[in-house]
């Protein structure tokens, strides 16, 4: 509390090119991920990113209250980001601040493109993010953990998003700024991306950067996001491996059946993934030929998705 002045004069990079916590410029802080940690939520996840500790809970798709907010053609995605009073050095007041409102909004917009909201007209998908301890880059870590919680809830997604900030400290571009680097550094660029799709879904910036520096920063952020994305996939896979082991214990026959279905599936899989509209779900299993026809029609009515439809975008 009392040594803020001392902090401001402290160098952020030492003679060996290492940062205050001993990291290299392109090195992320330690990250720990968990899924399914909140017992009452439909989906949940927990992240420790440096000293950030954040939980996220997902409910839905569920009935929307109040009803007048319902959208007749899609689900309403609500994202709420809140900080615990004791998550920062000076106690935060319990009422939501302007900062929390804004971050809630940008996080909603960071997650929205990943969801098929039109699958659930009039419903609500709620994402609640609680920061238990904040340590710089909490909005990026929130995006990472919220995407995991959505996946844990079993909500179909185009892909995961992950976030990390890049920025400039002591004149050098670095990734994953810590609390102190964010506060006294020269620039901060929080970035959230869908790494599989190469899309940026959250981008903010404050500070001062040249165009070249910004490009470097974004590249570094992307590199970091790819690393985090690998961790996300790993923790989700672990969860499903666990479920598989549990099934194997109770009923090995069921698991065999699942494996059988999996082997039969490949031909049918594609059209099913292509456009998971509720109407499609109800239609009988289509023969591969018929299914292909359908995917063609859906392609015409936009909704870019899957690699085939994605490629024109990349060449743009």
């Amino acid at each position: 509390m009392s040594d803020k002045k001392a902090e401001a004069e402290q160098p952020l990079i030492d003679g060996k090119g290492l940062r205050t916590d001993g990291r290299k410029l392109d090195e992320l802080r330690p990250i720990h991920l968990e899924v399914g940690n909140l017992s009452r939520a439909d989906g949940s996840a927990y992240i420790e990113h440096g000293r950030n500790k954040i939980v996220a809970a997902v409910y839905g798709p569920r009935e929307l209250h109040p009803r007048h907010l319902a959208q007749s053609d899609r689900a309403l995605l609500r994202v709420i980001y809140r900080m615990a009073t004791f998550s920062v050095s000076d106690r935060k007041r319990p009422a939501p601040s302007r900062r929390e409102h804004e971050i809630s909004m940008v996080l909603r917009q960071a997650l929205e493109p990943m969801l098929f909201l039109k699958m659930y007209p009039r419903a609500a998908i709620d994402v609640f993010i609680q920061v238990l301890e904040a340590d710089g880059g909490s909005r990026c870590a929130s995006a990472t953990v919220a995407a995991l919680a959505l996946a844990d809830a079993g909500i179909p997604m185009r892909g995961l998003v992950a976030g990390v900030a890049a920025g400039k400290i002591d004149g050098k571009i670095a990734v994953d700024l810590s609390d102190i680097e964010d506060k006294i550094g020269d620039a901060d660029v929080p970035t959230v991306m869908a790494p599989e799709r190469g899309e940026i879904t959250l981008l903010q910036m404050d500070g001062k950067l040249t165009k070249k520096e910004l490009a470097t920063a974004l590249q570094m952020a992307e590199e970091g996001i790819h690393q985090i994305h690998e961790m996300q996939k790993e923790v989700l896979l672990k969860k499903y491996a666990k479920i598989r082991d549990q099934i194997a214990e109770v009923s090995p026959e069921l698991l065999e059946k699942v494996e059988e279905i999996k082997e039969e599936k490949p031909k049918e899989e594609e059209p099913k993934e292509e456009e998971p509209k509720p109407t499609r779900k109800r239609t009988k299993r289509t023969t591969p030929a018929k299914a292909e026809e359908k995917t063609k029609t859906t392609k015409k009515t936009k909704t870019p998705k899957k690699k085939k439809t994605e490629s024109p975008k990349e060449t743009e």
Binding site: M1, S2, D3, L38, S39, R40, A41, D42, S44, R51, K53, V55, A56, A57, Y59, R62, H65, I80, R82, A84, T85, F86, S87, V88, S89, D90, R91, P94, A95, D126, F128, Q130, L132, E133, A134, D135
Partner: protein
């Protein structure tokens, strides 16, 4: 508001079992669910702990501020407790300013601590009438599986027992200067709270969510370190008899004796 709907068959099952002397999860009437307390979980808080009571889970954090005492108690520090029922803990919790349930929860936990002899508020005085420590205790519910009052009380005690106060230097012109150095919050044996649900005239300790949904009323009793009572709360629209209240106090006292053995040592 999300309305809770309880199937008649669940109500039947719970009360039939109670008449046979059994509970849905196989516990005895005075048997509380397993407790777990992890301290020092939030490094930016001056004190913190996470408490589990069965599957109910509460995180408590303490922030310390230096401020002015209330005019009527110039020699005493202040302990303020608040609770947040953020929707991560239950699909039934809704956003918005604290409602009845959150406020009752915070106030019951607060009274249990405030009126016990565990924290001498005079020990939180820095300079009479000028500077005192404000102990801000905040409770965040992570999972509601019933009996949040006892779970939150336990988390609160865990956080307070873990709290370190910064030393304060009062300069010549009377301003308070907060120093880096810390010392542990002075604390005696803490109060512990036991809640009973009244279902069809039977009192059972530490109700689960299932039992809470069908209960007619509830009574919470905080038992202090010296086996006296430091606060009580009866709630729900059903009356309690004098006999029921005195019985509940006796039973709570015995339960608390067992709970004390599991508390972390300081």
């Amino acid at each position: 508001m999300i309305m809770k709907i309880v199937a008649e068959i669940d109500r039947e099952r719970i009360s039939t079992l109670l008449r046979e002397g059994k509970r849905v999860d196989g516990r005895g009437f005075d048997e509380i669910r397993p407790t777990k307390l992890t301290q020092d979980v939030i490094s930016k808080a001056e004190g913190s702990s996470e408490a589990w009571l069965g599957k109910s889970r509460v995180l408590a954090g303490v922030k310390i501020q230096v401020g002015r005492p209330f005019p009527d108690t110039p020699d005493e520090g202040v302990v303020i407790t608040s609770a947040e029922l953020f929707p991560i803990a239950s699909p039934e919790f809704e956003l918005g300013p604290p409602g009845e349930q959150a406020i009752e929860l915070a106030r019951v936990v607060d009274r249990g601590i405030r009126h016990s002899s565990a924290i001498q508020r005079s020990s939180l005085c820095i300079k009479s009438g000028e500077h005192v420590y404000l102990v801000m205790l905040d409770l965040y519910i992570l999972a509601d599986h019933g009996n949040l009052i006892d779970a939150a009380s336990l988390a609160a005690i865990g956080a307070l027992m873990n709290t370190k106060l910064p030393k304060v230097n009062v300069t010549e012109d009377g301003t308070a200067e907060v120093l880096e150095e810390t010392f542990p919050l002075e604390m005696g044996p803490p109060p512990l709270t036991v809640t009973f649900a009244k279902i069809d005239g039977t009192l059972v300790a530490d109700p689960t969510l299932e039992e809470e949904n069908v209960m007619d009323g509830r009574i919470s009793i905080a038992i202090d370190g010296d086996d006296t009572i430091s606060s009580m709360q009866k709630s729900g629209g059903v009356p309690f008899t004098y006999q029921e209240v005195t019985d509940a106090i006796e039973r709570a006292s015995k339960i608390v004796k067992k709970m004390r053995k599991q508390l972390p040592q300081r």
